[in-house]
């Protein structure tokens, strides 16, 4: 090249074009500068077909369509640092960096993912994603102490059945616990994607922090969860002792990081915590809890006037607006917030009741928002009722 440059700029340019052209032609014809990507299962070390391979972010092919299962050959790799990303349904994706030409064969190990979809036809794009996570701890009403609960981490079937039970008796029968004056859409059940995450080696601890704690790495693997439910096994001993009642809790750490905990056998608590975590509903009892006017379609207002105006505009009786206060007389607890929904209200204590008109209106709002997203994705008149509308599809 140095010699050529001395002969003049034109010579250099022509030589560059020639070298480039010939290099490209030769490399193309003889498959030079190629890198082989071998995709294997982490535990069995067997080559895996059906994996999609991306080179530097661009799709390169899948490991079933080549002559040798598990291998994709990437041609025309330039010297330098590169990335290979491998995805496969049911597996965690893996991205590997490598340097070419130092490495010409790249082995990418992928492991089975812990996330299990419970939708019979698979997840629906833009639907509401609820992920259940098993807790390895529960609470003993005999000792009044947290204790290890191996139930779920040693028995996936038990956990799965408990999850299905909760789904069927809370999320899929919401219409039985909401106000008939604001009926839910007929196909509301199909607005949900349900999953459970099962990795017995790293369970959640429902009794570490108010809403429990999830293992590090969970949020990295599950970025799309709208609500993550830490489900814990039934308390040990009986609930007869009033000082030992099952608890629930919701905490939100930003969009995609809402978590709640609830006991598997207390559907009322699941309902109440879902009211917080998914539907953004406020508690309506008087106590040490967090109140705010949860617009739009609130179930708690920051003034009587707001409550009454809202009631009027939604054909509800404004006279039912009342301050949040305890039932004793004179009330030992009064808050500067107002509610409309009659008792027994799910959001008033989890011991029964239904979601009132106001709460149901908000539930409908959230479902309608989800529906818009699903419709936008499907480009049709709405989600197809692929899930059972009777709620038995998950059993």
């Amino acid at each position: 090249m140095t010699g050529l440059s001395r002969t003049g700029k034109n010579g250099w340019i022509i030589a560059s074009i020639l070298v480039f052209s010939l290099t490209f032609t030769v490399s193309a014809a003889f498959g030079q500068n190629a890198v082989s990507v071998i995709v294997r299962d982490t535990s069995t070390r067997e080559n895996l077909g059906g994996a999609q391979v991306y080179f530097d972010g661009g799709y390169s092919g899948d490991t079933s369509s080549t002559n040798e299962t598990g291998i994709v050959v990437i041609p025309d790799v330039n010297p330098g640092a590169h990335t290979v990303r491998v995805t496969r349904p049911g597996y965690n994706e893996n991205t590997t960096k490598f340097a070419y030409p130092a490495e010409t064969t790249i082995e990418v190990l992928i492991s089975k993912e812990a996330l299990v979809s419970l939708n019979p036809d698979g997840p629906l794009p833009n639907a509401i994603n609820i992920v259940f996570y098993p807790s390895s701890t529960s609470y003993s009403c005999i000792n009044n102490a947290k204790l290890p609960a191996p139930d779920y981490i040693t028995n996936e079937t038990l956990f799965r059945n408990d999850v299905l039970n909760v789904i069927n008796n809370t999320y899929l029968n919401l219409d039985q616990f909401t106000s008939p004056s604001n009926p839910l859409p007929d196909d509301y059940r199909s607005y949900f994607n349900f999953y459970y995450y099962y990795d017995p080696s790293s369970p959640a601890d429902a009794f570490s922090g108010c809403s429990g704690s999830l293992p590090e790495g969970y949020w990295d693997n599950v970025t799309f969860s709208d609500v993550t439910v830490i489900l814990y096994p039934t308390y040990y001993g009986r609930y007869a002792n009033i000082s030992c009642q099952p608890t629930g809790c919701t905490q939100i750490f930003g969009p995609g990081r809402s978590q709640m905990k609830a006991p598997a056998n207390q559907e009322r608590i699941v309902r109440l915590e879902t009211g917080h975590a998914l539907f953004g509903l406020d508690d309506t009892f008087c106590g040490d809890t967090y109140y705010w006017q949860n617009d739009p379609y609130p179930n708690v207002w920051s003034s009587l006037a707001s409550c009454q105006t809202d009631a009027q505009s939604h054909d509800r009786d404004p006279a039912q607006c009342r301050q949040i206060e305890s039932e004793d007389s004179p009330p030992s607890c009064i808050r500067n917030f107002w509610q409309w929904d009659p008792m027994p209200d799910v959001m008033a204590g989890a011991y029964g009741g239904t979601f009132g008109d106001a709460a149901t209106q908000r539930i409908n709002y959230v479902l309608s928002q989800a529906r818009v997203g699903i419709q936008a994705q499907l480009g049709t008149g709405g989600p197809s009722p692929s899930l059972s509308q009777s709620g038995v599809g998950y059993l």
């Binding site: 022509i14 014809a29 999609q52 661009g58 369509s65 025309d76």
Partner: protein
């Protein structure tokens, strides 16, 4: 000349047509991506601790509501996505109420400090994210430039379709098998045209190094490399100066101050690192940004020794786009500071504060680049990780420094923006 170019094009097309096809039609490639913004909050003051674009699915933002409002803006300032969500730190729980049978009472704790992560879907042309508190009169809590995380992602995944949109189509050859041929032809044709333009430019070279064009000093002892980089840079309207050694570089600097120095590491007798030391020792030269260019891997020790001196580090061989991106990033930073200084003159913002902010953002950006380079490729066996304890300490050191710098920069940004808002001026966009 024309005949030769046409001949070359024919050879090139023949080569393309001979390219063996591997794989078949793709099975719905999955390019879903998210942007994650990690924030720290203390008493409703939010600061960004890190941001990243990665592959993954986003949660459903449309079903959320709350006092905090997030907005994603495009390059024209239009809203791409707007959503509301609940402020973090609030806990709503139920516990038993022993005095009253069958009654549960509420349990709440509001943590005034902690961490929050905002997971957003990746959107084309996303440029800025703002977070405001609608319950507090709409005061802006966070405003961040989304270009750095997008650029970092595209460094690792240059062939991702969203990255191909951001750069020239010449790098898109392998992104889709069904478009590979077209992309390869476009690539070849555009390369030939580019070289043709470069050739004409060289032939017409007279007095083009005017002061209006940014001047880049290329320091490399390999004339071919200098020649090649010169062609690349001139097609992008940069003026260039050349030096074939460290000493020649220092001689040129005595006569002319360039906007940027591209410095090769492997030179004799004075290597690139020694030249860098000499440049930074001289008060007249020390403010010139230096971009290191080398075939060697950056070691942790070198990174620690020189991270405060260099602006970026590019490994040969490199794509022209890598070079343009790095140069643009450095020169844009300089330009933005200049513009902001002019804009904020006489509005009550101390120049020192603005300069400290600029220096910190520069340092954060460089440290992140260095940390990216030092990061060990994932998936390699443990025994292949040859990093020493010292290397890891350097990485830790850089991480800690970066976090400290980010906290201070965020504090300064808020103070500066608060003044700018008060004066009705646009807030810092960098």
């Amino acid at each position: 000349m024309r005949g030769i170019v046409i001949g070359c094009l024919v050879i090139l097309l023949a080569g393309i047509l001979c390219t063996p096809v591997t794989g078949t039609q793709p099975l719905s490639p999955n390019y879903d991506k998210i942007l994650q913004i990690h924030l720290n909050y203390v008493d409703k003051l939010y600061s960004v601790s890190s941001m990243e674009v990665r592959y993954g699915r986003a949660p459903n933002l449309d079903i959320l509501s709350g006092n905090l409002k997030g907005v994603i803006l495009d390059s024209n300032g239009n809203v791409l996505k707007s959503f509301s969500f609940q402020e973090p730190g609030t806990t709503e729980g139920i516990i038993s109420d022993p005095p009253r049978e069958n009654t549960l009472i509420g349990y709440t704790e509001t943590s005034s400090s902690g961490e929050m992560t905002i997971t957003l879907p990746y959107l084309s042309d996303m440029q800025k994210f703002t977070l405001s508190d609608t319950g507090d009169g709409g005061s802006q809590l966070v405003s961040v430039d989304l270009n750095p995380p997008v650029a970092a992602f595209c460094t690792d995944y240059p062939r991702d379709p969203d990255c191909l949109v951001l750069v020239s189509p010449s790098t898109s050859a392998e992104s889709h098998p069904d478009t590979a041929l077209l992309a390869a032809i476009l690539f070849s044709a555009s390369l030939i045209i580019a070289i043709g333009i470069a050739n004409r430019t060289i032939r017409r070279r007279t007095k083009m190094q005017t002061s209006e064009k940014p001047v880049v000093l290329i320091v490399d002892d390999e004339p071919d490399i200098v020649e090649l980089i010169t062609i690349f840079l001139r097609t992008k309207n940069y003026a260039t100066l050349n030096a074939n050694s460290g000493n020649a570089c220092l001689d040129i600097l005595k006569k002319q101050i360039p906007d940027l120095i591209l410095l090769d590491v492997r030179m004799e007798p004075m290597d690139g690192w020694q030249t860098l030391e000499q440049i930074k020792k001289n008060p007249d030269f020390k403010s010139i940004p230096v971009l290191m260019l080398t075939g060697d891997t950056l070691t942790a020790q070198r990174a620690k020794q020189y991270n405060i001196c260099m602006e970026d580090y590019i490994t040969k061989p490199f794509l022209p786009e890598d070079l343009y991106t790095a140069i643009d990033r450095i020169l844009m930073r300089k330009q933005k500071l200049k513009e902001t200084l002019a804009l904020t003159k006489n509005v009550g913002i101390e120049k020192e504060k603005l300069c400290e902010y600029a220096a910190l953002t520069r340092r954060i950006s460089i440290n992140k680049r260095i940390l990216d380079i030092l990061r060990v490729p994932r998936g390699i066996p443990e025994q292949a990780d040859l990093r020493t304890l010292d290397d890891m300490l350097v990485v830790d050191y850089l991480n800690v420094r970066t976090r400290d710098n980010e906290k201070r920069a965020e504090q300064l940004r808020r103070e500066i923006n608060s003044v700018l808002r008060g004066k009705g001026l646009p807030e810092l966009g960098w």
